[in-house]
């Protein structure tokens, strides 16, 4: 039998054969969804023709919970949103309250915040890189990623007493200065880390299998990404230069010299490259912050009971996942009237339907990984 007769169109069988679309349930307890995320995928053969995300399995009502706590008491709960990048969440919330209070944070506290923020960003990207590579099939990357992340968590433990959810900042500044010897350990980490990042790139960036699995997969164009309000490396992978640290500067970020890595094609590979390069930039920022560490107070002038003026404030930071925003409303009392979190994972997940349409079912897992979502933040 020759090939022509094997082909349904050649034999005229396409009209005669009945085909129909299959609906496939991915999750909610699938290891590649990184949490309780469920996707209803409509398939034509192996091609995805439609996709619907079903979320909310981890909804804990954090926004409602805050309304019955004081402004200070509400701080630690935001660590539980994105539990892989807890320090950054904390910065967003205390920053919003400080904005509403018109509170000046001392320069030294700002620099310490920048150091911890960027360490947390690297830790987040390392865990993401390890698990994402594992999803795509590169198992060894996970061990390297966890190893280096462990060093950062040790630094957190030494300074803040906690590894994962350290409740890093009080409203108005920071709690502690660097403990004795901490800076030396941190500098040693900064020296070793660039070589480790080179190793990751040797493992993946030039790896033929990795490139074939990620290049041209899950493409989203720049204008689509902006219209869907994506942010963070997911947006920058499409070549859009939007980084909150540069665009809406906060803390002491204007003092530091760093670049915003951009992708070109908006595919899984470019989003990967953006994050890996961001790690190098974060190291640059930490080095500058440690070198230029000013002297001064650790905390601004803030009373024990906080009563922001009646009104509202919207404050955003560049979290590891994207633009993390807090919209807080005060009625002039010691409890918040309303706290809303603009969660980058939640909004980035909106893009997945556009990215997956037309992709192969095997690539869906790679695309979910490339968005870097944490379901604690998606569902809040």
């Amino acid at each position: 039998m020759d090939g022509e007769h094997m082909h349904p169109e050649g034999t005229g069988l396409r009209g005669a054969l009945e085909t129909h679309e299959v609906e496939l349930n991915l999750g909610p307890q699938h290891p590649a969804t990184h949490g309780v995320y469920r996707a209803l995928v409509r398939l034509d053969g192996e091609r995805v023709v439609g996709m619907e995300s079903i979320i909310g399995y981890l909804h804990r009502g954090i926004e409602k919970w805050c309304e019955s706590r004081t402004w200070t008491q509400a701080t630690p709960v935001f660590d539980r949103l994105d539990y892989v990048g807890a320090v950054l969440n904390c910065h967003g919330y205390v920053g919003a309250v400080e904005k509403l209070l018109n509170l000046e944070v001392p320069k030294k506290a700002q620099y310490i915040r920048v150091v911890l923020d960027e360490l947390q960003r690297i830790a987040n990207h390392l865990l993401w890189l390890g698990t994402h590579a594992l999803d795509v099939g590169a198992q060894s990357m996970l061990f390297y990623g966890i190893r280096e992340r462990e060093a950062i968590l040790d630094l957190f433990e030494a300074m803040l007493g906690q590894r994962l959810l350290p409740n890093a900042y009080p409203i108005g500044g920071v709690r502690f200065d660097f403990p004795k010897g901490w800076e030396a350990v941190c500098r040693r980490f900064l020296e070793e880390m660039p070589k480790k990042v080179d190793d990751y790139e040797t493992l993946l960036t030039g790896n033929r299998i990795w490139v074939q699995r990620t290049k041209g997969v899950g493409v989203i164009a720049a204008d689509q990404a902006i219209a869907l309000s994506l942010s963070g490396p997911t947006l920058r992978g499409s070549g859009v230069n939007f980084d909150v640290r540069k665009a809406l500067p906060y803390s002491s970020y204007p003092d530091f010299d760093f670049e915003v890595p951009l992708g070109q094609n908006g595919d899984v590979f470019d989003r990967y490259l953006c994050r890996v390069r961001e790690m190098r930039q974060s190291l640059r920022i930490i080095r500058q912050a440690l070198d230029g560490m000013p002297e001064g107070d650790l905390k601004g002038k803030v009373g024990r009971i906080i009563r922001p003026p009646m009104g509202e404030a919207y404050f955003t930071v560049e979290a590891a996942k994207g633009q993390l925003g807090y919209y807080i409303v005060s009625e002039g009392a010691e409890k918040p009237w309303r706290v809303h979190v603009r969660a980058p994972s939640f909004i980035n997940l909106q893009g997945i339907e556009t990215m997956c349409r037309g992709a192969l079912i095997a690539d869906v897992v790679a695309i979910i990984g490339s968005l870097d979502i944490v379901l604690g933040e998606v569902d809040r």
Binding site: I55, E63, G311, A313
Partner: protein, 238 residues
């Protein structure tokens, strides 16, 4: 229970069912009020209104020029630019902000709502916009009555889709023209909108757990008043 009658007599070992809590039998009426206090109006001002001054910026001025009366500057205590828009003009205003070269607000950063039971208009929907070209931000607010639908922004920014679904879940605001306004974060059979101020915190089920910590579990009826009655009975050892 029979132990209430025996109470004035000589001390008897308390029966098992009371769990050692003999005191409530003596003062059933003087105990805590039977129903949790009704949501009391906030003690402070009569109306929620931001303090501070209105801070106009370029897009706010362009809006005032184009739409006149239907767009007003809104105050902010921390120097953020904000405008209050009439509901009828909302979608044209958002489209203008996106398309006009002076504004260029191409990025919808956030969309949410808030509930102000003390205000005349009880709900606010809040849009946070950003211009990637010009670098300016603007907050757009629209005020609604309870049950009044809000025009959907999904025609202007597709990214408003999930944010509007979330606001619908949490506050019960209906977005007219939304392509599929269904639950997103809450369970499918959830009743009520948790971020409304009248939504009970804790609720009867949690009260029950506190009152009956070591007893056997009791399944409460759906009706809140009925449930509260059972909880109170349980708490006072009947």
């Amino acid at each position: 229970m029979t132990d209430e009658i025996k109470a004035p007599g000589p001390p008897v070992p308390p029966p098992q069912a009371a769990g050692g809590e003999a005191a409530p039998a003596e003062k059933p009426a003087a105990a805590k009020p039977a129903t949790p206090p009704a949501p009391k109006p906030p003690a402070g001002p009569k109306k929620w209104e931001p303090t501070g001054d209105a801070v106009p910026n370029a897009p706010a001025e362009a809006l005032a020029e184009r739409f006149g009366e239907s767009v007003r500057g809104a105050k902010s205590p921390c120097g953020e630019s904000a405008v209050l828009v009439d509901k009828a003009a909302l979608v044209p205003v958002l489209a203008f902000l996106r398309d006009d070269p002076r504004c260029g607000m191409n990025y919808l950063s956030d969309l949410t709502g808030a509930h102000y039971p003390i205000n005349d208009k009880k709900f606010e929907v809040v849009y946070h916009l950003y211009s990637m070209e010009k670098g300016h931000s603007l907050r757009v607010k629209v005020q609604l009555d309870d049950g009044e639908p809000c025009p959907s922004a999904t025609g202007v920014w597709p990214g408003a889709d999930w944010m509007e679904r979330e606001a619908h879940d949490m506050l019960g605001i209906v977005f007219e023209g939304h392509p599929g306004l269904k639950v997103i974060l809450l369970p499918d059979d959830f009743e009520g909108h948790p971020l409304r101020k009248e939504f009970p915190l804790g609720g009867a089920q949690e009260e029950m757990i506190r009152a009956n910590r070591y007893g056997k579990p009791v399944y409460l009826p759906d009706d809140v008043e009925e449930a509260r009655k059972i909880v109170e009975e349980q708490r006072h050892g009947r």
